[in-house]
């Protein structure tokens, strides 16, 4: 059996993974990033109304991330701790944008987009690490 056939076989034999809490929190963080970047394209009160609705979502993502920490190994946990920091920074910048005026609003929103993006990246890295660990465990 060639290496390609072996890997194909291993892939096909992998159990279809159900979506666990890490997948769900990743989806929530992706949604958060999408909502902030959509808000960033708006102006004035329309933007602020969107940002007001985003703040509780950011808090919920941070809470879910903290809850998911306990069940993970150290490598995955490190990515998630980084993600928590980025989500908390997102919250901070969204809150600042609601109080700010003029160009400061735009600056805060851009920071929020960047932090939300970084948070999703970190969660994706955690998901990848978990999937690789599960795959290695199933097919050492």
């Amino acid at each position: 059996m060639t290496q390609v056939q072996k890997t194909d076989e291993a892939r096909k034999n992998m159990k279809s993974k159900g979506h666990d809490s890490l997948d769900r929190v990743r989806a929530a963080a992706q949604e958060l990033h999408g909502a902030i970047s959509d808000a960033a394209a708006k102006r004035g009160e329309a933007m602020k109304a969107d940002l007001q609705a985003i703040l509780p979502k950011a808090k919920a993502v941070a809470a879910s991330l903290k809850e998911s920490l306990g069940a993970q190994n150290e490598a995955i946990k490190k990515h998630l701790v980084d993600a928590v920091q980025h989500v908390e920074a997102t919250q901070k910048h969204v809150a600042e944008s609601l109080k700010a005026t003029g160009h400061a609003v735009e600056a805060s929103v851009r920071q929020a987009v960047a932090d939300a993006h970084a948070a999703v990246q970190k969660i994706s890295e955690a998901v990848a690490a978990k999937r690789t660990a599960e795959s290695t465990h199933a097919h050492p």
Binding site: V4, T7, D8, A10, R11, M14, S16, K17, Q30, E31, H33, G34, S37, D38, A40, A41, E106, R110, A114, H117, V120, Q121, S124, E125, V127, A128, R131, T132, S135
Partner: protein, 192 residues
Amino acid sequence: MRNYIAVVFREKSKAYEGLHELWQLDSAGEITVHGTTVVHRDALGQFRVDTKETHPALATAVGVGVGALLGLFAGPVGVAVGVAAGAGLGAAAGAGLGAAAGGIVGAMTDLGRADTRSRAVDDTRFVLGIGQSAVIADVTEDWTSAVNDRMLALGGTIYRRAKSAVRDDEPWFYDNYFYPYEYVPSMDSLYW
């Protein structure tokens, strides 16, 4: 293994199918997609990047970043030329610049490759022809066959570069130019 992949399609619609398939593979747990972007080359040879960012400064950043991204698949020389050209244009132009910068950066990257023809033999030979579209993604994949099977079925041509090799080459953070979820622009913005 963490890889940058570029999948070139002859039609824009196929590129969006490819984009969707990548995220479907992620959803199935076969790969992990960290981010994606879709790049098009129009009839005039200009590169255009799907983006919802409308602020000129962000568009500039995307132009520079995408120029670098395209060069990335052409090897270290292409990356250096692409970023230099993108940075120079970025300072001079205004709104909508991402697309313009990307186009000229792409042309410069082609030129850079032509000037280093002997070296190009070892490159991945990434080419985005007139009228073609490419999905560019940052993925973790334990098996390349998952992506290969789906993309080949759609008629895509696949190019890969290990992220670790890219990091060794250049310190730029390409990740910022990817959408961390499946993003397809509205139909209105697709007609250009």
